[in-house]
Symmetry: C2
């Protein structure tokens, strides 16, 4: 475990997934495995989208999945139950107010992007991590988005989400920062591995599930606040969304990169 | 060979390289292998930067490396001789005026980005490729560039190169287009694999060789024409270059993506 885990099999397997993954969940999580018997904290589980994959891939691991939102937790609980999984305990908890518990490992996915103080969150998580344990962090980076045919309005529509998230105190381009953040938070053996999602028509399932139904839908989700804030006109925003869907056609290409960071709470710290 | 080659070992190996490659040449070419005895055309060999790696990795393959520039060819010849390689024949030749010869495979690296008619070039190369043979194409994509700390002037300096290359008839963002280009040129079994270069301080060799000495140096290379064309002021351009070097510091991160396309000249075409 520990160093061997951080640098070993995990890494080698991870990159192999890139061309093979048929879904983004698979691309991100298929190589996140913990030793049987471990106690793992999932901080910011939201509605449990990752929890189900994690718990299913690691049936002999006990997960404690926390979130600040009771509504999200209820949804997560229902999902995990529907999947027939019994190795997850849910708790309503603030990542900045964790009780003094020790976990073997910590898992965080799409949480830091929403926090005004991501560094403090990483430090708080280190405090509940046993020495020798790992933290695994996944974040996207909207600044990694490009596509063919290129289109300026589509880039501006993406930027609306980045700007709105910034106004809310978050950072939609945080993926590229995992390495310096984990280092500054005092973790050791920091290793960041990009997970680029490259989508062309040879992967029709991914075109539909990612380009259209995940990415374009997510950007379209900020249509109203972006227009109300005067960031773009309705006509321009809609043209931007159409251009994202254009990249999902037969001669289109769409690129986005997630980042996975794995680091160690070292014994001497 | 053929389909098995296109979809088999080649792919699986390629993604494994991502985290392991200590140099970009290794990342790009380590999995480009041809069966012993093949005759391979390298179109647009330039000064032979790829030729040496290719010929060394495929000692039993006969390469015919062509370029339109006599000066580049002389340099390529000297490089290949200095490396003690004897399996390369050089010829001064225009990719649009190829003699009616048949090659088992075709290899192209960083050529299409400079051509006003990349599609025609791909068709011309198909005409000298034996049915069942593969074409391998590598191109970068400057629109895939991002870094931490982010900096608007650095992005503008990169855009100067993109705009200058466009004025010269080329396309510095062509990497993302390999899939539609190869399909439109009539190739079959098109498979594109991104080669993302992710650089943080855990890879000091790559920070120096790629972020500083390849990428920042390349952008700095258009300083004079960019300033003369009024694209940026000298002060702004220099601040942009400094920001690229800033991304090479200990808490910096730099990302760039190359694309490798492999496709087949199908028997029925």
């Amino acid at each position: 475990m520990s160093r061997a885990y951080v640098h070993g099999y995990d890494e080698r397997e991870s990159v192999r997934l890139q061309d093979q993954a048929s879904s983004v969940l698979e691309l991100l999580h298929a190589d996140t495995r913990y030793p049987p018997g471990s106690a793992v904290l999932e901080a910011g589980c939201g509605t449990g989208a990752q929890t189900v994959t994690l718990a299913r891939n690691n049936p002999e691991v006990r997960f404690t999945s926390i979130d600040i939102s009771a509504a999200s937790l209820a949804e997560a609980k229902a999902r995990v139950q529907a999947a027939g999984l019994t190795n997850v305990t849910f708790r309503q908890q603030d990542v900045f107010k964790l009780p003094s518990e020790s976990f073997d490992h910590v898992f965080v996915c799409f949480l830091l992007e929403h926090l005004a103080r991501p560094l403090e969150a990483l430090r708080a998580l280190k405090a509940v991590l046993k020495p020798g344990g790992t933290i695994t962090v996944f974040e996207g980076d909207h600044g990694s988005t490009y596509f063919h045919p290129d289109n300026a309005l589509a880039h501006r529509a993406v930027q609306c989400l980045v700007d709105l998230q910034k106004q809310a105190g978050g950072n939609a381009n945080i993926g590229r920062q995992l390495y310096p953040l984990l280092r500054e938070a005092g973790y050791g053996a920091v290793r960041v591995s990009p997970r680029m999602v490259y989508v062309d028509a040879s992967k029709p399932k991914l075109v539909d599930s990612f380009t259209r139904k995940t990415f374009a839908a997510m950007i379209d989700g900020v249509r109203e606040p972006a227009i109300q804030a005067g960031m773009m006109s309705a006509a321009d925003f809609d043209a931007g969304i159409r251009a994202l869907h254009r990249a999902a056609e037969d001669d289109g290409v769409f690129c986005y990169t997630f980042f996975k960071g794995v680091a160690l709470r070292e014994t001497k710290s």
